[in-house]
């Protein structure tokens, strides 16, 4: 019963947060100076008639309140609207972007988690050794690099060896066989994913190290060692397993920011994802695109936080709302 109550409470809280975020997203960009019409109407011999026609076409001639109500009504029907810039359905445009971002952010985050756990455990097990110092030193250093700077460095370092931009070889007129396409995407994925991994794995390393160190001093670990259980088994089965809670919490919370966190990396590597779409839409004051992109970002953050809450609750029943 307590579980159901917890889930319900967190669920309602998440829904309210989503509604507030939707409202915030709607008004936030409308109070920014500049609008899509003045951008689009900035052509030679532009006329007030063109500006008016664009206002009417985009529904901007209506009051903000009316626009908001129309937006909510459309949203309830699953309609994210039509992009001002592309004059196409926002959901259609953003769906591909979202998929592309999930590919990049997924690989980047999972890679960072994997390397972070591995290096954190190694550091904890070899505490105070040169390996530990090197490991934590590098992790701390790389963790502090801004993603855009590191991305540019990788771009320059691997110029000519790895593809520099885009998601696949763009100049293939005929669809290549599946494996060739996959290999092509893989090649394009290396640099942006490496940037995400390098800028994120350090955090995991440090948390995992400290968490595992704590458990390594526990009685049950010492008992296991005294029983003659092989070191590797002691670490992975006894120490790491019990050090999981803070790691899982961090991973779950980080997952919520995965989609949004890819923005800079996507812009640097021209990766056609949600981040690049948001970046472009903000510059163009393309409200439907911005609202759509932010809605996806918001929902993914809230949803993944909700999942994180549930996972933490499952792992440790002491957790309460």
């Amino acid at each position: 019963m307590r579980v159901l109550e917890y889930v319900l409470r967190r669920g309602i809280f998440s829904l309210v947060t989503i509604f507030l975020a939707i409202t915030g997203n709607f008004f936030l960009f409308r109070v920014l100076p500049g609008d899509a019409v003045s951008n689009l109407a900035k052509v030679p011999h532009s006329t007030p008639e063109l500006q008016h026609a664009l206002m009417v076409r985009f529904g901007l001639d209506k009051s903000k309140w009316d626009q908001y109500l129309i937006y909510l009504k459309n949203l309830l029907h699953g309609d994210l609207g039509v992009s001002f810039t592309y004059q196409e359905s926002v959901s259609h445009l953003l769906l591909d972007d979202l998929e592309n971002t999930v590919v990049l952010a997924g690989v980047g985050t999972l890679g960072a988690i994997f390397i972070g756990i591995l290096s954190g455990v190694m550091s904890a097990w070899r505490r105070s050794s040169p390996l530990d110092h090197l490991n934590t030193g590098v992790a701390t250093l790389v963790y502090s690099f801004p993603a855009q700077w590191l991305g540019l460095v990788l771009l320059i370092l691997f110029a000519g060896v790895l593809p520099a931009g885009g998601m696949s070889d763009q100049f293939l007129f005929d669809s290549p066989p599946f494996w060739q396409h996959a290999a092509d995407v893989g090649g394009h994925l290396v640099l942006p994913a490496a940037t995400m991994i390098l800028t994120a794995y350090g955090g995991y390393t440090l948390v995992v190290r400290s968490s595992v160190l704590e458990t390594l001093g526990e009685d049950y670990v010492l008992t296991a060692r005294a029983k003659g259980i092989p070191a590797r088994r002691v670490v992975w089965r006894h120490a790491v397993r019990n050090a999981l809670l803070p790691i899982v919490t961090m991973v779950a919370l980080d997952l919520g920011y995965v989609v949004g966190g890819a923005v800079l990396v996507e812009v640097i590597f021209s990766w056609p994802g949600l981040g690049m779409a948001t970046f472009t839409a903000i510059g163009q004051r393309d409200y439907p695109m911005i609202q759509g992109a932010f809605l996806i970002l918001t929902v993914s953050v809230i949803l993944l936080n909700f999942v994180a809450d549930l996972v933490c609750f499952r792992l440790d029943r002491r957790v309460s709302a």
Binding site: P44, L50, Q87, L93, D184, G186
Partner: protein
């Protein structure tokens, strides 16, 4: 699902290093494919929706135009082979290419051109307003026979050819169904690939923000391109685009930052710097109704002093790394032969600037900053992202440092383009003090640039707050001057007037810089571009060396 599986497999293959095998060449069974990189994506394949140059350069390749520009900046035949003008300058008659067809086999005649122009004119206050400029004063387009187009204007129009050069002729049989009622459907037709083409190339694939691929159009009425096709890959960062060129993933890049020129040259690429179509300027608010805090900016002496404070030579050398030239006229040197060569850049002379400010009565305060109307001469300068994103910020730093020497403080106010528009136009341009922006004009005609300073452009493109009867009168006269000599005389007079009034303090003309692999030859520039929105000639003639 396929994407997800591909992604998973991609990760595995990326880890195993197999990805290098997948790099494609630039050749197909039909011949060579020319690969371009662009930092500007196509916003829409619908000409009634699109506003970006790249999209119009694409329309140039897939749609006929009546005329086009040649590399010397002259209007030459395209779909129209000849044209004549009536004595009163109000009727233009074009003979179009006989026997032409669209890529779907339907006849391509003068009727398609007439339909396109009449449709734009019919909905010019609404759905087609973005192209309305090209048909202003057009009463009617008619076709006495399938190969003759007659355009009747309500008054003589000097730049008819320039206007028509930019109008993509659309296939009536495809678009007609969207032109009913209020014409709003014209803006919602996505015109996705495969587009019915009448130009030398057919769009076969367009992935928004990623790529557009084109194949040779066998039905094209003009000369056959040497290349089998071309593609444009879109980049959101210049660094990735230049790296892709150096890595041979591209054959050419349209817009090269001046900072990459030396690097590309040393890597063996051909870098072409052409006189640009853009000028950068400090805009001093000349609006007589501006706020009291900076009403002195309307003083011509002050603007003259400011003009003397701009070290154009240093800006060209330091900011543009030599890839540009000091500015004088508002018509950039890339606009065919319209720039008035007699206008020289205002000399950099801090002594003269100080004397002018002293003469105007702006004394220095205790901290060295001059006082005007009781307040220090301390002005925010709006820098839109167009400017601060490139060499502009370096230029601004030079300018700010020199302005400090004449007792005028400038502060950068960085805004994105939309916010900068709003800030400059707010309250009918009464609120802002100064901006530093760049303006681009047309390749073959100065009309667009001259239009920026008309009273009619207030609140839309005229960001100077300038409005004068003299200017508007000259503007109207040049638009109706039917002999080149007469029109040149008026346009020169307008350039001198703009220089005298000093509302736009023209800083410099950045060069238009392109780079391409030396494996390609015969790639002429039209208005500084090989991928032109005004000419099919460059992509018709480019071919692989040897």
């Amino acid at each position: 699902m396929r994407k997800a599986l591909a992604a998973l497999a991609a990760v595995l293959l990326a880890c195993s290093g197999l990805s290098a095998c997948a790099r494609a060449g630039s050749q197909t069974a039909d011949g060579d494919i020319y690969r371009l990189g662009s930092d500007q994506a196509i916003d829409s394949m619908n000409p009634f929706v699109s506003v970006v140059t790249t999209a119009f350069a694409v329309y140039e390749q897939i749609y006929p135009t009546l005329v086009q520009l040649d590399p010397e900046g002259r209007f030459v035949a395209e779909f129209a082979s000849t044209w004549t003008t009536s004595e009163d300058g109000r009727t233009w008659t074009f003979r179009t290419h006989p026997g032409a067809t669209w890529s779907d086999g339907k006849p391509l005649t003068a009727a398609d051109a007439a339909w396109t122009l009449n449709t734009i004119a019919a909905f010019k206050d609404g759905p087609t307003a973005g192209l309305a400029n090209y048909v202003s004063d057009l009463d009617e387009a008619s076709t006495p026979d399938p190969n003759t187009l007659v355009l009747r204007y309500s008054r003589p129009v000097a730049n008819v050819l320039n206007r028509l050069m930019s109008v993509p002729i659309l296939p009536e049989h495809v678009w007609r169904e969207y032109a009913g009622g209020d014409g709003e459907a014209l803006t919602t037709f996505p015109n996705n690939a495969p587009v019915v083409s009448g130009g030398p190339f057919v769009l076969v694939r367009h992935v928004p923000k990623q790529v557009a691929l084109f194949k040779r159009n066998p039905a094209y009425y003009g000369p056959k391109p040497h290349i089998a096709g071309f593609g444009i890959q879109f980049f959101s960062s210049d660094d990735a685009m230049i790296t892709a060129l150096k890595s041979r993933q591209l054959d050419a890049v349209r817009t090269v930052p001046s900072t990459s020129v030396a690097n590309l040259e040393s890597a063996g690429f051909e870098v072409i710097s052409s006189p640009g179509l853009r000028f950068e300027s400090i805009t001093v608010n000349a609006n007589p109704k501006q706020r009291p805090e900076h009403r002195e900016l309307a003083d011509p002496l002050l603007r003259q002093a400011f003009d003397h404070t701009i070290n154009r030579a240093q800006i060209v050398e330091t900011s543009l790394l030599g890839h540009g030239r000091p500015g004088a006229s508002i018509i950039p040197p890339g606009t065919a032969n319209w720039a008035d060569r007699s206008l020289q850049p205002t000399p950099f002379d801090l002594g003269a600037a100080n004397r002018l400010l002293d003469q105007a009565g702006y004394r220095r305060g205790p901290d060295g900053t001059r006082i005007a109307n009781g307040h220090p001469m301390d002005y925010p300068v709006i820098l839109p992202e167009d400017t601060y994103g490139g060499a502009g910020l370096r230029s601004f730093q030079i300018i700010r440092s020199d302005f400090a020497k004449i007792g005028v403080r400038l502060t950068a106010k960085l805004l994105d383009n939309a916010a900068a528009n709003e800030a400059v136009m707010a309250n009918e341009s009464q609120d802002f003090a100064m901006t530093m922006w760049g303006w681009s004009g047309g390749t073959g005609d100065p009309d667009d640039t001259l239009n920026y300073l008309t009273c009619q452009s207030w609140g839309i493109l005229n960001d100077t707050g300038y409005c004068s009867e003299e200017w508007d009168d000259l503007y109207a006269r040049q638009g109706a001057a039917m002999t080149p000599a007469e029109r040149h005389g008026i346009v020169d007079e307008m350039q001198r007037l703009a220089a005298r009034e000093r509302v736009l303090l023209v800083i410099a003309y950045p060069d238009s810089i392109e780079a391409h692999s030396r494996e390609w030859v015969d790639l002429p520039q039209v208005g500084g571009n090989s991928f032109s929105s005004e000419s099919k000639i460059p992509l018709l003639s480019v071919r692989r060396a040897g």
